[in-house]
């Protein structure tokens, strides 16, 4: 246990050491200060000419939102159409069928919103063509899109910037300068660990004792790097990172851990360099790290302690709760990874979350709902931003100052937007859970006719709530005993994913744009200092308070009830 703690702390610091220079580099990329004569620059200029965009031009908020909406629309139509006909298209050696329309719609929305909730199983539900041409592609572009929005927001907050920049320029640079090279390096690392990269069909294999079985394989190493780097999480196989081909050994586990957190953390450092306000980004970094710790520790504790009902059977449970977990990671590192992927909406899993202890579900749900303790690439900032507005406003009310964030006065509209977004994010999963429970109650013999819940009682309730929280937060992990590939679940979670992705993005973009139009106020004794540890702690309390108040009753009905039933 002690050695595991040392190992995991080292792993976290490796991420910090890598993210720091990367943040510096991102600062150069988005200020367009990278060397001007290289091959990449020439290619970029060609692309900009093809798109007819001015690389140093600016968009106003209307143009920006139109560009963002249109491009997402194009991706949605593209993904939806291909998934509908994938069975007839080429690169389908396994002969997998086309998707039913609600499943195709759900999968397309899931990947453009960077949620990557999967109601299909990769081995039997997708062709090689859709794995590469749809799922890998959409993971790249959705990540580049949210990264660009994040950059635009930061640009608005700059002292004399007051500009959004051009969406397409940021988008292309995110692709060529950041995502492509990183994915290439990581892909090479994964191939060296034994991850398949082949277009051969499923192999027929014979085991040592003589059983014959099919072995699903494919171009895995092209897809897996971006699912982590872009906070996406759409795995190649049904069991995601628990599958030995997506995560062959402990070294690949460490690479997974590092790259999930790498870009979201680098983005925090980037904020500091870009705004030339390192203290502010350090404060954000502190809040996020504290959040990550407080989510991870209870999960690790619960999973290493094991299942009390199994311990009662008199066997050796010192290695913890191993149901649904893999031996090469063990319960400690599985819990450690789960904590990271609850706060960062990659939402990849090295174990089946459904078999976790009931109390592990609470930190996972809180981490997902906040979605800003590092959070997604670009979206982490977006989610922490509306909490920032609320915290500055509350803090200034308490000490009787004018609410000013980074030199800009927060007005009525900004405040209304921020609270609106925050409340909506919290309400969507609760309301949808209530409706699902109502439907179950109203259906006679619901357990058999609907076939939704693989585990009944409070655990089943947690399953439903988890699915909707995960969809809204763009996380995409799930309690997989849920019979989720049905018209009802495909459509309702699609709704949750769309609101969860686009409401905060549009809301926060508008807030940042409005703030950028205000006059810059120099910091003085009359302004609440947002760079201090005190304010960081206050911000943290605001986040926890808002989330705890809204979801405590739900926790009581689900995980807490199951815990007390197991330990009475």
């Amino acid at each position: 246990m002690v050695i595991d703690i040392v190992g995991s702390v080292i792993l976290f610091f490796v991420v910090v050491v890598l993210a720091w220079p990367l943040g510096k580099y991102m600062n150069k990329v988005y200020k367009n200060e990278v060397s001007g004569t290289g091959l990449l620059t020439k290619i970029e200029l060609k692309i900009f000419r093809l798109l007819k965009v001015n690389p140093s031009g600016n968009m106003n908020i209307r143009q920006y939102l139109v560009a963002f909406a249109l491009i997402n629309g194009v991706w949605l139509v593209y993904g939806f159409c291909i998934l509908l006909i994938q069975g007839q298209s080429f690169l389908n050696p396994a002969g997998n069928p086309s998707m039913e329309w609600t499943l195709a719609l759900h999968s397309a929305i899931s990947f453009i919103t960077s949620t990557n909730q999967q109601h299909y199983s990769g081995e039997t539900g997708a062709t090689y063509f859709s794995q590469i041409g749809v799922f890998t592609l959409l993971q790249f572009v959705s990540a580049a899109a949210s990264l660009s929005v994040g950059v635009a927001i930061i640009r608005c907050l700059k002292k004399n910037g007051q500009q959004l920049g051009n969406f397409f320029v940021d988008f292309i640079r995110s692709c060529t300068r950041i995502l492509f090279p990183l994915a290439l390096v990581v892909g090479m690392l994964f191939i060296s660990r034994g991850m398949p990269m082949t277009f051969d069909g499923p192999a027929r294999v014979i085991s040592l004792q003589g059983d014959t079985t099919l072995l699903a394989t494919g171009p895995v190493a092209a897809m897996v790097p971006i699912k982590e780097l872009g906070s996406n999480g759409g795995g190649y196989f049904g069991t995601n990172n628990a599958h030995p081909f997506e995560n062959p050994d402990f070294i690949s586990y460490m690479v997974h851990y590092i790259i999930v957190l790498l870009l979201p953390m680098a983005f925090v450092f980037f904020i500091g360099y870009f705004l030339e306000n390192r203290k502010f980004s350090n404060m954000i970094f502190g809040v996020m790290t504290l959040g990550l710790l407080l989510v991870t520790i209870p999960i690790v504790w619960q999973e290493t302690s094991g299942n009390p009902l199994v311990s009662q059977m008199g066997i050796d449970t010192r290695s913890g709760n191993m149901e649904g977990k893999e031996m090469r990671f063990g319960s400690y590192y599985t819990g450690f990874y789960t904590g990271e992927n609850a706060v960062v909406p990659a939402g990849t899993i090295t174990a089946m979350l459904d078999s976790y202890q009931p109390l592990s579900a609470i930190p996972m749900l809180i981490g997902m709902q906040v979605d800003g303790f590092f959070g997604g690439l670009g979206t982490g900032l977006i989610n922490i931003f509306y909490y920032l507005i609320v915290a500055v406003f509350l803090g200034c009310q308490m000490i009787g100052r004018t609410p000013i964030l980074l030199g800009r006065k927060i007005g009525l509209v900004e405040m209304q937007l921020a609270t609106g977004v925050a409340v909506l994010q919290l309400m969507v999963p609760i309301v949808l859970t209530a409706i699902a429970c109502f439907v179950m109650n109203a259906t006679p013999g619901a357990n058999n006719t609907l076939g939704w819940l693989g585990n009944s009682g409070p655990h089943g309730f947690t399953t439903i709530f988890y699915e909707y929280v995960s969809a809204t937060a763009g996380n995409g992990s799930g309690f997989e005993a849920l019979g989720d590939n049905t018209v009802y679940w495909n459509l309702t979670t699609s709704l949750a994913m769309l609101t969860g992705r686009f409401v905060p993005i549009v809301g926060v973009l508008v807030i940042a744009y409005l703030l950028s139009k205000r006059k810059y106020v120099e910091s003085s004794a009359g302004v609440l200092k947002t760079e201090t540890a005190t304010f960081g702690l206050f911000l943290f309390m605001v986040i926890i308070l808002l989330n705890a108040l809204s979801t405590l009753p739900v926790f009581a009905l689900g995980p807490l009830q199951e815990y007390f039933q197991m330990n009475h």
Partner: protein, 185 residues
């Protein structure tokens, strides 16, 4: 067509070229020159090809057995049990696994059975077991194969995979490699 729509389509085209064509082709090229040509970790034994990372079902008593699997080691449909920790059916299943293990290994004390040997893995394809899970199968295999327990214990020690750099990750045993070594004795 509207200029904005056209631009969105063009950007998508650029992205398709970069991420769905160029990147996979580069990685495919790199994989071709990698050991095993990007097909995963392969070991050959007696002319047969085995994937060392993909767990196999070992039901024959003469082999060290792998962990229970919710998909019976069907490597075309990975999956865990997804049973909740308080699910009554799940608890009955674990109990019956303990009982049947004790039937097959009458010399083993119940308190020695490690939890990984009676719980299903996440992928259903877990290639590893814990060291203790291998050690408690020694008596059975020694009897069937007419071997000395000491030899088997040594085999287990040789096949134990230590934590990476002595720090990272749990100690474990790849069952396929162990069983191949066992056949080679």
């Amino acid at each position: 067509m509207n200029e904005n729509v056209l631009r969105a389509i063009k950007v998508t085209g650029v992205a398709i070229f970069l991420f769905a064509i160029l990147l996979p082709i580069i990685l495919l090229g790199i994989a071709y020159f990698a050991p095993n040509h990007g097909k995963g970790k392969i070991i050959e034994y007696k002319g047969q090809v085995y994937y060392s990372n993909i767990g196999q079902l070992f039901s024959a008593p003469k082999y060290f057995s792998t962990r229970p699997s919710a998909v019976k080691y069907n490597s075309n449909a990975s999956g865990g049990s997804n049973k909740g920790p308080s699910n009554t059916l799940y608890l009955l299943e674990v109990q019956s696994r303990i009982d049947s293990f004790l039937l097959r290994n009458p010399d083993v004390n119940k308190a020695m059975i490690p939890v990984d040997l009676v719980t299903a893995s996440g992928s259903g394809l877990d290639p590893h077991i814990s060291v203790q899970a291998a050690l408690i199968q020694v008596k059975r295999i020694a009897k069937i194969r007419n071997l000395q327990e000491l030899v088997l214990n040594q085999l287990i020690e040789e096949n134990t995979e230590k934590p990476f750099l002595e720090v990272f990750g749990p100690e474990k045993i790849n069952v396929l490699k162990l069983n191949i070594a066992l056949d080679e004795l």
